[in-house]
Amino acid sequence: MSKTTRVFSGVLVLGVVAWLASGAVSQEPIRIAYIDPLSGPFAATGENGLNQFRYAAAQINRAGGVLGRQLEIAPYDNKVSPQESLIQLKKVTGDGIQYVFQGNSSGVAHAISDAVLKHNQRNPGNRILYLNYSAVDPALTNDKCHYWHFRFDAHADMKMAALTDVIKANTRIKKIYIIGQDYSFGKAVAEAAVSMLKQKRPDIQIVGNELHPIGKVLDFSPYVQKILASGADAVITGNWGADMVNLAKAANDGGLKAPFYTYYAASDGVTAAIGAAGIDRIRLVHETHPGNPTPPKALSEYITGYRKLHPKNDVNQPRIHTGLSMLALAIKKAGVTDVDKVASALEGLEFTNLGGDQVVMRREDHQLQMPIYISVHTNKGIVHDLDASGFGLSLEHKIERDKAVQPVVGCKMERPS
């Protein structure tokens, strides 16, 4: 072989490889990592979240996908442990995935958010985007905010502002008891409740402000006893999972009649486990229409379709649909999957969610702005129940987007130049 033919054939081979590679890339799906618990005590929550992501992705794919490519959800099990999450994040970057969704536990969210920021600073050519669909510690979009983190759920302060608006209007409430799990989110709820109640209803007395270890309390009767002894007219709690179920059960057994204002007392077995014990007593603050008593059409169809596939699970996080749809929209708008361009397209992006509400991603802190709902646990007038239990959430109050807005606090975002 002469020198020229050698060079020529070399170039030819390279060209073929490049052509093959580019062809393969354009047909390859856009992979999106989902890092959440898929084993251990919180596996039920994580698995249902994964199902909802896959369902939302299937809908986008059926409508033609994104840039002619399909969305594919790649699950990574973090066992709700921050350490494990960082290991999984390494795998995600190793697998060449650019988009990461995570939601369960603000403790994990802080770890991932920090790691993503560091990764992006060290690898400017190979950045990743962190899309937080459920971790609601306000700090994530306040003093800990950064350009590569976007949140699609209303944060704890937005929800607390909505809750306290409702409490403000209820003059029968004079004494409030706050109880929560002892970690960043539980503390954020307690702090927000105290400061906002002071502002909105200075006459209300906070008769208890309690933190208990997360997932370690077996019997909540002593706590219920304490609430009873305090004479509270209402209870505020950010508890979730088994801690929420057991608290509600103990309240019922102990004869505690006060209403509960909660963040997570629904779905993943919680609604079923609370059952009749919570009728007209458990209230929930959340981000999309609850589907009862009169569900918006798009939401109704979405829920019905999901329940056909997963009869025992619920669409308990419609924000998953919002988050994934907005990401798809941003990629379409950017025209490429390049993280820098997609992040820039996400800023200020508007979207109509399943409940028919107009939501917008705030540029300053990457916190999605949306209306907030307060619903009551009941079995009356339920079209879409939860946990297939006959019980569900029925709309009581809607706080419009402009009323639910919270100021940007201490977020100084460094944008890539």
Partner: protein, 316 residues
């Protein structure tokens, strides 16, 4: 205040006796066979889930009888086909074996019943407040749990100390060779004891399922605390387990009611910890906040002060 004290004591007693129900089987097995059964909480979980299904299909009364028998038979099977073979490789092998069984049970239960928490209702005939005091009520089901636990203690105590079977069981523990010489089948005694221990865990599952919740993490949550109970009580001691359970139950419930912090107590004595420092941070933690950790503190103290536990005879 009086109301808080009365109910805290009652709740502590109920919770303590519930712990006893769980740990009695464990301490029995350990006392008998020297096997620290990691799968014990797993059998409890199995009992709770089986109890859930049987209650739905037939009724709570049937579940109360059938489930412990089924779980007990399963336990005996595990002993006969697994533990006995592993036994000759020593205690480490046994530990690892029971650990494996524990993982297996947790996974099988999740496979069979699914991952979301189950809604286990308190049976209708026990679902009413037994009495009301001030503005709090005491549910009848708690009284039922109390009664079952006490009955269980009396039953085990009488069998172990007053019957011939108990005599053989106790003798097999200390003098297995001699008991075998006298014509008793020692391995079978072990199998029966292991079965009974598991049956007790199953019974505890049926009874505690509606109260403490029936969910995939239930074994994990209770697994560590029952070990605390049997170590504080003294490994293998039934009376010790009873006392330790009640002690833990009451200490924990009373601690929850106390909003006193170390810093606050020191401040009332005129000692300041300084604002903003680490000491201040530690001092501001209330007793209520650390209540669920207290049993583990007690465990450490007991291991330092009295390594045999309250009533135990052997070093832990």
């Amino acid at each position: 205040m009086l109301e808080l004290v009365v109910f805290s004591l009652l709740n502590g007693l109920v919770f303590g006796l519930l712990l006893f129900m769980l740990s009695s089987g464990l301490t029995l097995i350990f006392g008998m066979m020297g096997v620290l059964n990691f799968a014990h909480a797993g059998f409890y979980m199995l009992g709770a889930y089986l109890g859930f299904s049987v209650t739905q299909q037939v009724g709570f009364g049937t579940a109360l009888v059938v489930v412990p028998v089924v779980v007990g038979l399963l336990g005996a099977l595990v002993e006969r086909q697994g533990l006995r073979r592993v036994h000759r490789f020593g205690h480490v092998a046994e530990l690892i074996f029971t650990f494996g069984v524990a993982v297996l049970i947790t996974e099988i239960v999740q496979f069979a019943w699914g991952r979301p928490a189950k809604r286990v209702e308190i049976p209708a005939f026990l679902d009413f407040p037994l009495f009301r005091l001030f503005n709090a009520s005491f549910p009848a089901y708690k009284a039922f749990m109390l009664a079952v636990s006490v009955a269980m203690f009396v039953f085990l105590f009488v069998i172990l100390t007053r019957t011939r079977a108990g005599l053989i069981i106790q003798a097999s523990l200390t003098h297995p060779g001699m008991v075998a010489m006298l014509g008793h089948n020692v391995p079978r005694v072990f199998m029966i004891v292991f079965g009974i221990g598991c049956a007790l865990a199953g019974l505890a599952g049926v009874i505690a399922g509606p109260v403490l919740g029936t969910f995939p993490g239930m074994a994990q949550v209770l697994g560590s605390i029952v070990f605390v109970v049997i170590v504080i009580g003294g490994l293998g001691s039934l009376g010790g387990a009873l006392l330790a359970s009640i002690l833990i139950g009451i200490v924990q419930t009373i601690a929850v009611a106390l909003d006193v912090s170390i810093g606050g107590a020191l401040a009332s004595m005129g000692i300041g910890l300084g604002a903003g420092g680490l000491l201040h941070e530690l001092g501001s933690v209330t007793v209520a906040q650390i209540a669920p950790i207290l049993p583990y503190v007690m465990l450490v103290v007991i291991l330092i002060v009295r390594p045999t536990g309250l009533f135990g005879t052997r070093e832990t």
